[in-house]
């Protein structure tokens, strides 16, 4: 669809790629028709680049580690408990939180596309949306986790959650040792995105 513009006389510009041209055309035509507002697009682009991200989810985790009753609420009704902290909305309207323990290790995937809890984790990384992870983590989770540097004992129980519906999942990782005296804020800083997907554990502070 369309072709690449060839700026043969101007070697400082590289040609626009096919997707760039097509997205520009789509945005331009929809804007001219009055259907979309480019400023709304700007706002959305910025929101997911700078405002919404795993720092949200790490606050949920830290609070659950510190506040036993919050943790109960979180595991019972993830949507409401997460919304208590102000995180809700697109691709996170209906949340389920699953807890990692010494015995049980949960890991998330969407084999069919890329479903992921945006309000708590932001946009998913490319590897989560690509064929290797999506195909393998349901059938050989331990091999995939090993590629991430996570080796689990044979006794441990691995549970893979395939987000085939509109429920969005989040892992509550185990609180690491050596964090007993840390504040909620300090704890949140330890929590990584990968630990909330379940491909990593939260590491004890040095």
């Amino acid at each position: 669809m369309g072709g690449e513009h060839e700026h043969e006389h101007d070697h400082h510009n590289r040609p626009l790629s096919d997707p760039e041209l097509r997205v520009k055309a789509l945005e331009q035509v929809l804007t001219e028709k009055g259907l979309i507002d480019p400023a709304a697009l700007d706002e959305i682009v910025d929101t997911y680049e700078t405002k919404v991200g795993p720092h949200n989810g790490s606050k949920v985790v830290a609070k659950a580690w510190i506040d036993r009753e919050y943790k109960q609420r979180l595991l019972q009704d993830g949507t409401t408990a997460i919304a208590e902290l102000g995180f809700s909305g697109i691709q996170g309207e209906d949340m389920v939180v699953v807890e990692n323990t010494e015995k049980v290790h949960n890991v998330l995937v969407c084999t069919l596309c890329s479903c992921y809890p945006w309000p708590t984790l932001g946009l998913p990384p490319t590897w989560y949306k690509a064929a290797p992870y999506r195909s393998r983590v349901v059938s050989e989770p331990r091999a995939v986790l090993k590629e991430f540097g996570l080796v689990l004992s044979e006794d441990a129980e691995v549970r893979v959650w395939d987000s085939t519906a509109e429920l969005r999942y989040m892992v509550l990782p185990e609180r690491p040792a050596g964090t007993e005296n840390m504040s909620e804020t300090e704890l949140a800083e330890l929590v990584t995105r990968d630990s909330m997907i379940g491909v990593a554990k939260v590491v004890s502070p040095k």
Partner: protein
Amino acid sequence: MNGIHDLGGMHGFGPVEREDNEPIYHATWEGRMLALYPTTAVLGFYTIDEFRHEIECMGATNYLETSYYEHWLHALESLAIRKGIVTEEELYAGHTATGTTKAQPGLNAADVPKIIANGASARVTTDVKPKFKEGDMVVVKNINPSGHTRLPRYVRDKLGCIDRDHGVFAFPDTNAHGAGEKPQHCYSVYFSAQELWGSTVSRNDSVYVDMWDDYLVPA
């Protein structure tokens, strides 16, 4: 649809490749494409299920050879053309032929935070009786629709157990084809890894898959 997108359990894709410090958008156009989703979704000319199905219909090699946001681009172009929102000629030209068709965009910049925060839950408040309850043993139907389904091949005909009832949700298999929401209960269903993958995998492992009433029969 038994399409290439239904990847669970496949072999041959190699190791998981990760990019260090991966940017949110690899190019400006990816960010614009992301934003085109909520800004056009509010216009109501497609459901999320139709959008996914459009991607599923891209063709297997095309799907594998294109990037993630190119899938979204394909879906939105196809839907916008088929639903008469834009024409192919307009997209080629990069300009509208017909001029403004709407006085107000579907989503203004000022409304964005609210729309993002509210989202669009697929939960339906209709009171529908569940067919199953927690602890019930179920068998997954062996359906192979050529249209949209969220029933992956790797669980069909398998024996599972209802782990929890999530409540009543719209049903994608109908919602993707203009056949309505057909609200019904959606469950998290437990499958032992050995049930799915044979006796060589760990006895301790399991896969939980979200499924609607229409995908399941009592064991």
